[in-house]
Point group: C2
Chain length 221, copies 2
């Protein structure tokens, strides 16, 4: 019982800071996306490809969460987008306090969208609110069609699911329609998209459009 109480106290503390973050974002009209997925789901590659497109229309900043290394922030910065790196030193997820610390470094008046790439982990990040408007789960077809039912919590809380690496489907024993059915069974509200690399070009136009629409909706409020 003691263990449960501690967990609940930590969660309540996190939720309180997340609420403060959310208020701060709202007062500056900033839309925030919390991106989660397994190691190797293709999160950073996806972001590398959509950021230049998003940046044509709105001002974007990235926050990168990793156990170790600055690799992902360096990859993102090559797209011309500012990327702040959080190293959790073994911690399995980001928390609201880590985000609060990072946003103090930013001039929030000039930002439309903050994208947070969580630690590669399909379990723990789902339990920690960061103050985001949207939760996005990235899952690659190479992970297998059953992942939504095996890791339901992440999918249950997702507003958007992006299925990546669909160009690998001919070489896998994976039925993407079964994967989509599992996602819909868990969370019929989630907007589901597919991305792929075709003829060397990364295809994510629909996702970019959808994100821009969400950002504009918040601005319009």
């Amino acid at each position: 019982m003691a263990r449960l109480d501690i967990k609940q106290d930590l969660k309540a503390l996190n939720n309180a800071i997340a609420a403060e973050n959310r208020e701060k974002f709202a007062s500056h009209n900033i839309y925030v996306i919390n991106v989660m997925g397994s190691p190797g789901a293709g999160k950073t590659t996806f972001l590398e490809n959509i950021l230049p497109e998003l940046s044509k229309h709105i001002q974007v900043v990235m926050i990168e969460g990793d156990l170790a290394t600055r690799n992902d922030a360096l990859r993102i910065e090559k797209t011309g987008v500012t990327a702040l790196q959080i190293n959790t030193n073994g911690g399995c997820h980001l928390d609201a306090k880590m985000i609060e610390n990072q946003i103090q470094k930013l001039n929030l008046n000039s930002i439309d969208l903050i994208i947070i790439e969580n630690v590669g982990n399909l379990v723990c990040p789902a339990s920690f609110d960061l103050g985001e408007d949207m939760r996005m789960v990235i899952v690659s077809v190479a992970e297998g069609e059953d992942k939504p039912i095996k890791y339901p919590i992440a999918f249950l809380e997702a507003n958007m699911v992006v299925i990546t690496k669909t160009d690998l489907l001919p070489y896998l024993d994976v039925d993407i329609n079964v994967m989509k059915k599992y996602i819909a069974d868990i969370n019929p509200e989630a907007a589901v998209f597919e991305t792929t690399k075709k003829d060397g070009v990364y295809k994510a136009d629909e996702v970019v459009e959808y994100i821009l629409e969400q950002v504009r909706k918040k601005k319009g409020k």
Copy 2:
């Protein structure tokens, strides 16, 4: 500080139970492998393929750890191997107490090898000793060559690393030699193997041989 102390207390408690498990396994001459890796790394497929081979020579039992579903235990049981399922109900890793609870159900006198498939997660399981003899990390080439340096703790503690899905290499921007170099940089002691499906047949003969050798070494002591 309070948070750190709690973490250390829980870890000390886990280590104490893990030590008891280890003693119990040793007194029955049972070799134990703790298998970890990301969701979709190919852990269960790998096990489905090596278990029939291992079972020709020794008595094997599986313990399956998952957030939800009995899917993996059902898949394993089709190979003819007994599989006990642990559902962590959201918990991101197995702990020594969960293993202690399971081994009470087994007749330890008739078992040579217990393989524990941990929750799909490249972060949390690495911090929890279960009483195993060997830690095996499964990583698929589809996850990307940089995963060892981005999730170093799991690789640092591994005795054996199995790189799966190498048949996908022609369709990925991944250099398996770079992945192997990263593994060797972090942990030069780890035995590294590759597995693949070729002409519809799963190739893991070397891994099977290596595991049988480790089991026999323990028996010979």
